[in-house]
C-alpha cells in the first residue's frame, strides 16, 4: 500500500492513475451511463456531432449512437488490454523462472522457443491465430498474449540469473535455507520490479493491438470496440470524419494514461528499492 501512496506522489503516476480509474469506472458502469445495446440503431444515420444533445457525438452510418459506442468500447479495450498483459506476464514469469533456475538443456530449449516467438512479428502471429481459431474476446486475448510473453520471459530469466549469483543469495544458501524458500523469499521479490515496470507497457501495446485487429475486422463482432468503430467510420471518411476521429481520441487518451502510470510506477519502484 506504500506503493500506492508513493505512486500518487509522482505527478505523472497520479495523472495516469486518475485517468485510468476514471476509464475503469466508465467501463464498469457502462450499462448505467449508456443503457441499452450500443450496437442497436438509436436514431437517424449520420447525425452530425454536437448538434443533438441526446446524441452528443452524433450517429454512424446505421444510426448507432457514437457516444454509447465509445463508452461501451472502454470495456473491451481495458478488459482485453489488462487480460492479455496478465496472461503474457503469467506465461513469461513461468518460462523465465523455469529457464533461470533449471539451467542447462532446459534453459537452452526454452530460450530457443522464446527466440521463435520474438522473431515472428507479434501482429502477424495474432492475425494468424485469430483467423484460424475464430474471433472472440478470449481468443483475441490469447492471440495478443502469445505475441507478448517472450519479453517478460527473457527479462525474468535475466533477473533470476543475475540475482542467483548475488552475495545475499549465497549467504542464504550457506545458512541452509531450502532452495524453494530462497527462490520465494530472496530471488522473486528482487526479480519482480523490472518485470512489473514492463507490464504497463504490455498493457498499452495490447490495447493498440486489439484496436488494430478490430480495425481489420478480426475482433469480436458481437462487442463494440473502438477499432471497429474507426473501421466503420472509414466508409464515410470524406463526409463524416468525426466517426473515425472520436474513437481514436479515446484510444490515445487511454494509452497516454497507461504510459503516464507506467512512468510513475518505474519511478516509484526505483525509489522503493533504495528505501528498502
Amino acid at each position: 500500500m506504500r506503493l500506492v501512496r508513493n505512486l500518487i506522489g509522482s505527478p505523472e503516476g497520479a495523472i495516469g492513475l486518475g485517468i485510468l480509474v476514471l476509464l475503469a469506472l466508465v467501463a464498469i458502469f457502462a450499462p448505467v451511463l449508456s443503457p441499452g445495446d450500443p450496437l442497436s440503431i438509436a436514431a437517424r444515420p449520420l447525425l452530425a456531432p454536437f448538434t443533438d444533445p441526446s446524441f452528443p457525438l452524433g450517429t454512424d452510418r446505421l444510426g448507432r449512437d457514437v457516444l454509447a459506442g465509445i463508452i461501451h468500447g472502454t470495456r473491451t479495450s481495458l478488459a482485453v488490454g489488462i487480460a492479455a498483459a496478465l496472461a503474457a506476464l503469467a506465461i513469461g514469469l513461468c518460462v523465465g523462472l523455469t529457464a533461470g533456475f533449471a539451467g542447462g538443456l532446459v534453459d537452452e530449449a526454452l530460450m530457443r522457443v522464446v527466440d521463435a516467438f520474438q522473431i515472428v512479428p507479434s501482429f502477424l502471429l495474432a492475425l494468424a491465430f485469430v483467423s484460424v481459431i475464430g474471433a472472440s474476446v478470449p481468443v483475441v486475448v490469447i492471440a495478443i498474449a502469445l505475441g507478448a510473453w517472450a519479453d517478460p520471459a527473457r527479462l525474468t530469466r535475466a533477473q533470476v540469473l543475475s540475482i542467483r549469483e548475488r552475495d545475499y543469495v549465497a549467504s542464504a544458501r550457506v545458512i541452509g535455507m531450502h532452495p524453494a524458500e530462497i527462490a520465494l523469499r530472496e530471488i522473486l521479490p528482487n526479480a519482480l520490479p523490472p518485470v512489473l515496470a514492463l507490464s504497463a507497457i504490455i498493457v498499452a501495446a495490447a490495447i493498440l493491438t486489439e484496436a488494430a485487429l478490430s480495425f481489420l475486422g478480426l475482433g469480436d463482432p458481437n462487442v463494440v470496440t473502438w477499432g471497429s468503430m474507426i473501421a466503420e467510420g472509414r466508409n464515410v471518411l470524406r463526409s463524416s470524419p468525426s466517426l473515425s476521429i472520436f474513437p481514436g481520441i479515446a484510444l490515445v487518451v487511454t494509452v497516454v494514461a497507461v504510459y503516464l502510470f507506467s512512468e510513475g510506477l518505474t519511478k516509484t519502484i526505483g525509489r522503493g528499492r533504495l528505501a528498502a
Binding site: A116, I119, L124, A212, S244, I245
Partner: protein, 329 residues
C-alpha cells in the same frame, strides 16, 4: 572483420533451430483450422462436391497426414520452395517476392526518417535534461507514441488527401500512367509520403525517448566529468561523449523493434491500399490460404533474423567491448 564473420557464422547456425520451431508451431496452428484452403476456395467459387474437393486435395497434397506434410514442407524450404498459394494459384515465393519490395521501401524509408529525426531530437532533448525543451519534447513524444498508426494514417489522409488534396489517398503509384525513370520515382514518392509519414512520426517518438533517456543516463557517468575537467567544449561533450554512448541502447532498440515494424506494415498498407507484404498477409487470412500465410510468417522470421544480424554488426562496430573476450589480445 574477424569479429563480424564470427558473429555472422554463429548467428546463422543458431537461427536454424529457431526457424524450425517457428515452422513447426505455425504449421501446428494452421492445422487446427476447421476448414482448409480447399474449403475456402470452393466457398469462393460458389461450392463444389466431395469428389472435386478430394481431387483438389490430392493435387495439392492436402490429403496426406500432418507429419508427412510437415516433412514435405520443411524439406522444400531447404530448396527455397515455399509451396503453392491456393487462393492466387501461384507459387508462394513468387507472390512474396513481388510484394516485398514495396513493403521494404515503405518500412525502410520510415525507419530511416524516424531514426534520423528521432535521434537528432533526442540529442536536443537529452543535451539538457529537465529543461523546458526536454519536457516539451518528452510530452509530445509520449502522446505521439500512444497514437495507433492506422488512426494517424487516417487522420493524415483526411487532412492532406481529402481536405487539402495535396497528396493521393491510396496506392503506391498512379495506375497505368506509363511513367518511367525519374517521373515514376517522384510519383511513387508522392504516394508514399502519407504512409511513411504516419509510421515515421510514431517511431520517431520512440527513438526520441530512447535517445533522450540514454543521454540522461550517460550524463551521470564519470567520463563526462572527466571530459569537463579537460575543459572540452560543450558541443564536443554532448555529441562525442554523451550522445555517442547513448547511441548504443538506441541501436539495440532498433533491432528489438524490427519485428514490430514489420507487423505494423499490415494496417498501414491496408489503409493506403499499398500492394505490399503486409497487405498480402491480410489477403492470406481472408482467403484462408494456409500455404501463403505459412510462407509469410517464415519469410517474416527470416527478415527479422537478417535485420537483427545487421543491427548486431552495427552495434559491434560502435562498441569496441563487444566480442572482446573472444579475441586473442
Amino acid at each position: 572483420m574477424n569479429r563480424a564473420i564470427r558473429l555472422i557464422r554463429r548467428r546463422a547456425i543458431s537461427s536454424i533451430p529457431v526457424l524450425l520451431i517457428v515452422v513447426i508451431l505455425t504449421f501446428g496452428l494452421l492445422e487446427s483450422a476447421s476448414g482448409d484452403a480447399v474449403d475456402a476456395y470452393l466457398l469462393s467459387i460458389g461450392g463444389g462436391d466431395a469428389t472435386v474437393a478430394q481431387a483438389l486435395r490430392q493435387a495439392y497434397g492436402l490429403d496426406q497426414s500432418m507429419m508427412a506434410r510437415l516433412w514435405v514442407y520443411v524439406s522444400s524450404l531447404a530448396t527455397f520452395d515455399l509451396g503453392w498459394s491456393i487462393a492466387f494459384d501461384r507459387p508462394v515465393l513468387d507472390l512474396i517476392l513481388e510484394r516485398l519490395p514495396n513493403t521494404l521501401l515503405l518500412m525502410g524509408s520510415a525507419t530511416a526518417i524516424s531514426f534520423g529525426l528521432g535521434s537528432a531530437l533526442g540529442i536536443v532533448a537529452g543535451a539538457k535534461p529537465e529543461s523546458a525543451v526536454d519536457r516539451t519534447l518528452s510530452t509530445v513524444s509520449l502522446i505521439l507514441y500512444a497514437i495507433p498508426s492506422f488512426w494517424l494514417g487516417l487522420v493524415l489522409s483526411i487532412v492532406f488527401a481529402v481536405q487539402l488534396r495535396w497528396l493521393p489517398t491510396s496506392g503506391i503509384e498512379t495506375i497505368a500512367s506509363g511513367k518511367g525513370g525519374l517521373a515514376r520515382a517522384l510519383d511513387i514518392t508522392r504516394h508514399l509520403v502519407l504512409p511513411v509519414g504516419a509510421l515515421a512520426l510514431i517511431y520517431m517518438a520512440l527513438f526520441l525517448r530512447v535517445m533522450r533517456s540514454g543521454m540522461a543516463e550517460a550524463w551521470q557517468l564519470d567520463f563526462v566529468v572527466f571530459a569537463r575537467s579537460k575543459g572540452l567544449s560543450r558541443s564536443r561533450i554532448v555529441l562525442r561523449h554523451v550522445a555517442r554512448n547513448a547511441l548504443l541502447p538506441l541501436v539495440t532498440m532498433l533491432g528489438l523493434q524490427s519485428a514490430a515494424m514489420l507487423g505494423g506494415s499490415v494496417v498501414i498498407e491496408s489503409i493506403f491500399a499499398i500492394p505490399g507484404f503486409g497487405r498480402l498477409a491480410q489477403e492470406a487470412v481472408g482467403g484462408r490460404d494456409a500455404p501463403l500465410l505459412m510462407g509469410i510468417i517464415v519469410v517474416s522470421a527470416v527478415l527479422v533474423i537478417c535485420v537483427n544480424l545487421i543491427v548486431d554488426l552495427v552495434y559491434a562496430a560502435l562498441d569496441p567491448r563487444v566480442g572482446a573476450s573472444e579475441s586473442a589480445g
